[in-house]
Symmetry: C2
Subunit: 209 residues, 2 copies
Amino acid sequence: MDIILIESSLELVPEQIRYHPSVVKNALKVGKDPSKVLLDISLHYHAMRDLPNREKRGRPDIVHTVLTMVLTDPEFRGEVLIHTVDSRIIKVSRKMRPPKNYLRFVGLMEQLLVYGRVPLEGDPLMEVSTLTLEEVIRDRGLILLDEKGQRVNPSSLCNSKEFIGVGAFPHGDFDPEVRKLSGSSLSISDKTLETQHVVCRLISSCAQG
Amino acid sequence: MDIILIESSLELVPEQIRYHPSVVKNALKVGKDPSKVLLDISLHYHAMRDLPNREKRGRPDIVHTVLTMVLTDPEFRGEVLIHTVDSRIIKVSRKMRPPKNYLRFVGLMEQLLVYGRVPLEGDPLMEVSTLTLEEVIRDRGLILLDEKGQRVNPSSLCNSKEFIGVGAFPHGDFDPEVRKLSGSSLSISDKTLETQHVVCRLISSCAQG
């Protein structure tokens, strides 16, 4: 089973708010260039007030939690791709071990989004791809996990050839453009689950399969 | 199923290293009293060099990850208790919602360990208990999850009356005193799992049970 984190809440501070006094102040406090800082609602709440799509943005901790869970799991054998809320595709090597410390993770993702890859030389552990989501899934297809989808047991997805798409944003719904790309949407629970719970159930079900 | 996180890597900076220059410097940099700071290997690596039991200490991110996963899961109905590496027992209300932001979580746990409870007034969300682990488990018993234990399916634990003990330290083995308290040790995987993976499999198995 290969997972794509969909519309992941992971991006650099967008240009519209780069010169907001609180963004500049926060960046300078830690000696960073404001254009090279991850958007984080715990730092940029006020500056984000007028950002479009605000409810889906500024939560890089979601990707941190999920990558840390998936990539260290000794029983998960699939691949993980990150599709971001601003439509980038990030390839993640199975050799990648994300820093458990959140601040170090943030630093690494900033490096990734500024330079397009980490590490800067040698085999990449993470890389911003030039492909679009549509191109990535063209041959294999995409199943979106969505609370409104048809209810299935997560273990039925373990051998899926289609990519399994899991929303990695805090609130709101999938973008209509993303929905259009997906053949079907399925649900693995009667309850509303967070990204980490969805991924946890997928891994666990397939580990015991 | 009620879970006890065992020997959790969660404590204030111990007295032996409280006056270590790097500890003092780190604390003052963020305006904190060095005696009221969580021990964190990402900050205190050098100061921890001579601490006994060092490989099990200074990783509050483990409790953070697990509490965030368990307490927000809409399908987990059990209780969670924290037993710490320095033998405290922390009661956690099911109403507790740990801050997803790591730095805010650290601040909250510092308040808990300094004052014995959070919030300081009203119904506690977390509270340091005067009970010992032995007293907590006396009536119900304790099953330790341990890679060397007898292999079982995690779903067989969903209706356990015994507390399920999950190690919440990064390396090393359970303390012999803790082992003595446990009636049996069981394993839920053929692989070595991190705390987060153990808890994820428990929750997932019981959610679909």
